[in-house]
């Protein structure tokens, strides 16, 4: 083999080695601009009116997450300290509003230092470090947006985020733990940005939760700060009261299932529901039946002559939907909290 032949063989090998050490530093796609979420897509319901209570369908949650969700009472969001709670980073891209993205570059070398993101939903700001810095210590504080670093994989930006606060995988009633990690893949096709997130949560997910959202570049960006959240006190409640349902006493458990003519089990989530094989099992399960605790009790059967009617059935534990100080199902959450 002559030298040219050797070179033809070895050149790709060294090219590959070069890729090993240079790929993370090479920025290849510019995401700068204002992007609006495509709210009519698959994630529309979560961007707008929000999920129903006990609507855990198709989510790979653990039994522990399910129990957390069944104990959840919407009135908890009316507690002052909960009212300004925002979406965590692996959920906020399903918010209804846009996001502005810009780059931070070294003024001399023009190396990409960071990608910044201002998210209009809940007025969050986020930095994705592109300079290879390490993630913080286990003893560092957690934030809603966590700590993010990014690398390029071809034309795709992959972002890993740790140190996220406890939040939710499905807003308000399915928890995500403060030990979750979010891995995002950003792909740009012209004026379309596809955002794919893979969330790992060793506490509340039995398998990674994979979601995607699409955003469209806004050619005439209108981006205003939106969310100066300030809590308000609504009604009296006992000091330290935390609204919740005792195990087995959630009176709304079957409402969503019955409304959509689904078996109860199908609404309770679990990794098996993500796979096609579950359809066979679905056909064998009975449709849920729901009786609203808000409905007036059925009239007692006609009493025999000479006897008084029976007592009406007891109210569900804990009273109505929202609990003390909560208005309706969504609780007395701040105005516009629906995102």
């Amino acid at each position: 083999m002559d030298n040219a032949g050797r070179a033809r063989i070895m050149a790709p090998f060294f090219l590959g080695l070069l890729l090993c050490f240079s790929a993370p530093a090479a920025a290849q796609v510019d995401f700068t601009g204002v992007w609006n979420g495509n709210t009519n897509a698959e994630d529309g319901p979560e961007r707008a009116q929000g999920p129903s209570l006990v609507e855990f369908v198709g989510l790979p949650i653990t039994d522990h997450a399910r129990q957390w969700g069944l104990a959840y009472r919407p009135g908890r969001l009316s507690l002052p300290e909960h009212q300004c709670q925002v979406h965590v980073v692996h959920y906020i891209h399903r918010g209804p509003f846009g996001t502005r993205i810009w780059e931070e570059r070294d003024p001399v070398t023009h190396q990409l230092i960071a990608i910044h993101q201002a998210i209009n939903t809940y007025e969050q700001k986020r930095t994705i470090w592109m300079d290879g810095r390490p993630h913080p210590s286990p003893n560092a504080a957690h934030t809603w947006m966590g700590f993010s670093t990014g690398v390029w994989e071809g034309n795709m930006l992959t972002v890993t985020t740790t140190h996220i606060k406890q939040g939710w995988h499905r807003r308000e009633n399915l928890p995500s733990s403060d030990e979750a990690t979010s891995i995002e893949h950003w792909v740009r096709n012209g004026a379309l940005w596809t955002h794919i997130s893979v969330t790992e949560d060793p506490i509340f997910l039995s398998e990674p939760l994979i979601k995607s959202e699409d955003f469209t570049l806004n050619p005439s960006p209108n981006f205003n700060p939106f969310w100066p959240c300030e809590y308000i006190e609504e009604g009296e409640r006992a000091r330290g009261e935390v609204p919740h349902y005792l195990p087995g006493e959630n009176p709304w458990m079957a409402e969503y299932a019955a409304t959509h003519r689904l078996p109860q089990e199908a609404t309770l989530g679990g990794a098996e529901q993500m796979y096609p094989e579950y359809r066979a099992r679905l056909k064998t399960l009975p449709v849920a039946v729901f009786t609203s605790p808000d409905d007036p009790p059925a009239p007692p059967p006609a009493a025999p002559p000479g006897r008084r009617g029976a007592s009406p059935p007891a109210a569900p534990a804990g009273g109505g939907r929202g609990g003390a100080g909560a208005a309706g199902r969504g609780g007395a959450a701040p105005a516009g909290r629906g995102q």
Binding site: P24, R76, W144, V151
Partner: protein, 335 residues
């Protein structure tokens, strides 16, 4: 194999290796778990870490319970002292933060993990004033705790807790105020929480709260009923923390908290912990009202602590079952 095939194979192998290196580097990054302090530690291998919290306050982690260090021109104030075996490393870490005199140590609770280093560390310090106060040693740092903490220590006796670890400077009532490094420091008694002698420390200018044992990122809160602890005292302590703490924006930042164990937090972390402890207390209380025995409560499916167990049932010395049993006995459940 032809030359072309060799070229292609070589490129493919190199590319796969390259992508694997990139992906591998990302896959190794995960949010670290919050773990309790090891029960039988190899002291020589343990390291302490210092992290700036905000203002004048720093966290010294890894010496047992968390230690807070307030550092300024006037000297150093510590909240808690860690295990005695870690005192040398704590001092070394402290000297990286400041070469000023150690003036004050405040103890938040009884346990060795918080008071074990008292005897060693106070000898590194000196009182601020010209003459000693009642019971104080002028050539040592001041050592402060609630009067009930001192009573617990004396009650246990010097065989179990050496006199050098007892706080000579005590206060009774709801709080003790002092100024350190031009900052108001408020010590708030937390009656009958983990023990009868607990307190938390609030650095008002730095806007940092040091919770002691009532807030713990690594396990359910410990209740030492033999030393006067109670579930409702812990919950009230957590509610007081929520009263004090003010987030900066959207329930984030602002007042920061150094917990008994684990990472730095803010109000939302305390809030979720308070919610959890309250919900578990309510479940045990409801079971008691139904007339359930402790065995029946322990056998409940799901358990009273079910959804919180993967996150907080990590300390074999203080399991979820022990926590439930303590609540049950504390709330007056039948035997």
């Amino acid at each position: 194999m032809t030359k072309r095939a060799l070229v292609n194979a070589s490129a493919l192998v190199a590319a796969v290796v390259g992508v694997s290196v990139v992906l591998g580097a990302q896959q190794q990054i995960r949010t670290p778990r919050q773990m309790p302090f090891p029960r039988q530690p190899d002291w020589a291998k343990l390291e302490v870490e210092t992290l700036h919290v905000q203002g004048q306050v720093h966290l010294i982690a890894g010496a047992g319970g968390n230690i807070a260090a307030q550092v300024g021109d006037g000297g150093v104030l510590l909240v808690d002292s860690g295990y005695e075996q870690m005192s040398g490393k704590v001092l070394a870490a402290l000297r990286q933060l400041s070469n000023r005199t150690l003036r004050t140590i405040i103890n938040t609770t009884l346990m060795d993990a918080h008071t074990g280093g008292n005897a060693v560390l106070i000898k590194e310090g000196r009182l601020n004033q010209a003459g000693p106060g009642l019971g104080q040693r002028p050539n040592e740092a001041d050592l402060i705790g609630t009067s009930k903490l001192l009573a617990l220590m004396t009650g246990l006796g010097r065989d179990k807790i050496p006199v050098e670890r007892w706080p000579p400077s005590v206060f009774s009532g709801k709080q003790k105020d002092l100024s350190s490094n031009d900052e108001p420091v408020v010590i708030l008694a937390v009656p009958n929480a983990v023990t009868a002698g607990d307190s938390m420390v609030w650095f008002r200018k730095s806007d940092v709260l040091v919770s002691g044992e009532i807030f713990n990122h690594a396990s359910f809160p410990y209740i030492d009923m033999a030393q006067g602890g109670s579930i409702n005292g812990i919950i009230e302590g957590l509610n007081v923390m929520l009263d004090i703490m003010v987030p900066k924006q959207n329930q984030e930042g602002g007042t920061m908290v150094i917990p008994g164990y684990g990472r730095i937090g803010d109000e939302h972390d305390v809030l979720e912990y308070r919610d959890m402890v309250t919900i578990i207390r309510d479940r045990v209380q409801a079971a008691i009202r139904k007339g359930m025995t402790l065995s029946q409560i322990k056998a409940m499916k799901p358990s009273a602590t079910y959804e919180y167990e993967p996150r907080f049932n990590r300390d074999p010395a203080w399991t979820a079952e022990m926590f439930v049993e303590a609540i049950y006995r504390n709330l007056g459940g039948a035997k």
